[in-house]
Amino acid sequence: MPIATTVGACDRSPDPGPVRASRGEDRVWHRFVVVASLALGTFATAASAQPQGQVGVASSPTGSGDVDQTEAPAVIGNAASGGTETSEQQPDLAELQRRLDLLADEVERLRSGEDVEPVSVDEARRLGLAPSAAAAYGRERGVSIAGYGEMLLENFGGENEAGTPTGRTTQFDFLRAIIYAGYRFNDKFLFNSEIEIEHADEVFVEFAYLDYQASEHFGVRGGLLLAPMGLVNEFHEPTVFLGAERPVTESRIIPSTWRENGGGVYGSFDRVSFRAYVMNGFDGLDFSSGGLRGGRQKGSRAKATSMAFTGRVDVTPTPGVFVGASLYTGDSGQGQVVVDDTEFGVRTTIFDIHGQAQIRGLDVRGVFARAHLDDAAQLNLVLDTIVGEQMQGAYIQVGYDLLSQTNSGGVALTPYVRYEQVDTQDRVPTGSTRSLSTDNRYVTAGVELKPIPNIVVKVDHAWVSNDAETGINQFNVSMGYAF
């Protein structure tokens, strides 16, 4: 498709002048040299043209006339403009306009980041750098740094539901400080990672993977991966979820932040997106009556005798709304659950259905998750505890940004309420007895303030109850950021 500039002399296709040559080479450093040369040439021309009267930079598209030039847009390269130049001046002014047009075009293209190319090995050698070190020279697509963090104050009730003193002290925790570091090798290969300092003194790699993006719609991924389950596990930045604390369902049934080593595929087609991975399974010997959380291996010398499959499918019928389902299934025995000389796999299956709608300030989210363990009786014999054969949790949460329909300049003030029920012993093996304290109901009400989209302050209160009357209410204040 031919695209003409407003000056015939600047027509991009046929003119093989010096700027054309630089564009053909597509090398950023070379472009800068050319741009600098052009700038010098332009100033020299301008200097020679100025004493003769008019510098034709601000010519308007339809001729300037008596219009206030501060109002008229200055379109570079309109040869039809002006009209007061002498015939001697015109070649200089035309050349000046042409060069400014080329400069503006080069600057705009450089700024856009559309066709930044890598530095070749030969060029890297000329720069005196190893190819990797030189990559940052020619490629905006190199290192990417981002991060998030959250600080949480938890004030627990002095007595539980039954009026028994809890002895819980108020806790103030810098929960997470995270740096994302990524590197794009080229259009197809990239590395991404999340390095986390938890509770100010524990260091984890939350994820670290390589992507091969085969097309806009499809890619392959391998490394330390986030299990693609629920709403929070993959999107756990404090500015994304409502509530000072993550939902309990997505802590005990879907044990976020849940990451394991593996590989798989991801992609999206029209309204459907998916991810499917094979990863190492849980370590079942670390399960407890409180859920699966302890079984995460977090990529550290993970036992991989038992592998697992996990995946999700989400459908976005309209922007701002999506529903989906996730599945995880695999053994958690890791060859360690042996009873009477028989090894038990402890197949663990978790599925969830989830949905989210964000429309005109209204934010509605919900998750239902259920986990099922085979061989729970044998596992309990080995562990001498009661891990539930079936666990489940669900929550629904509603928030509304009170400022969303006003011109608040991006400030958001969102009251929210969440109802949640979680039971980590929904069903126990025959002969075991359920604990009434593992079936908890949570009602959380609070408000979050975002002065800008990257910063959030949340205040909420959670009322916790169960049939054993051991629930402990708590008041939370959190501050989070993401960049």
């Binding site: 847009p73 390269g77 981002a146 701002g320």
Partner: protein, 187 residues
């Protein structure tokens, strides 16, 4: 367990095969212009905004205008302007994104194409999300959480895109006003 692993491995094998034949990539500015205005002639302009225009645009758009250099394309067909397109480059998180924002002749949004996205691709707005802007004009309602729904997990992309669209619509309005004045004086 073995069955799970074999299913997984088969999946990866199929994937690898698909990868070998898969194609894709970001649309270039020229490709996008050709797709938006298929029968039209395109004239490229580099417009320098005056300081006063930058202030006006900032007030209309509700945000700062960082650059006075505007890349504009005017599409004509049969001697008649059928649309305009602007390239807006902005930072999403720490990296840049360039959008080609095409407008109808009446100044409403015709289509948005991503011509450069230097952040991780998972933060890139999908075509269907961008279609929310079709036929939109510069009103107070043109905001995320109002006429525009957010992108789950890509809040900053949604915010940056919306700011870009508002900026381009404001630039188009201000330039149209200035050109009208120039035209009136010329007449």
């Amino acid at each position: 367990m073995k069955r799970v692993a074999s299913v997984g491995m088969s999946l990866l094998l199929v994937t690898t095969t698909m990868v070998a034949v898969a194609q894709g990539g970001q649309m270039s500015r020229e490709e996008a212009l050709a797709a938006v205005f298929p029968q039209a002639g395109i004239e490229a302009e580099r417009v320098f905004l005056t300081e006063r225009q930058m202030v006006q645009i900032g007030e209309l758009a509700g945000g700062e205008v960082e650059s006075g250099l505007v890349a504009r394309y005017v599409a004509t067909q049969g001697g008649r302007i059928v649309g305009r397109a602007y390239v807006d480059t902005h930072v999403v998180r720490t990296k840049r994104e360039s959008l080609l924002i095409s407008l109808e002749a009446d100044g409403s949004v015709k289509r948005i194409d991503v011509t450069a996205f230097l952040e991780p691709t998972e933060y890139q707005a999908h075509e269907r999300w961008l279609q929310q802007y079709d036929q939109q004009t510069l009103t107070d309602d043109l905001a995320v959480q109002r006429a525009i729904r957010p992108i789950a997990g890509a809040t900053l992309t949604a915010g940056a895109t919306n700011a870009a669209v508002r900026r381009v619509l404001a630039i188009d309005q201000v330039l149209a006003l200035a050109e009208e004045k120039v035209g009136a004086v010329a007449r």
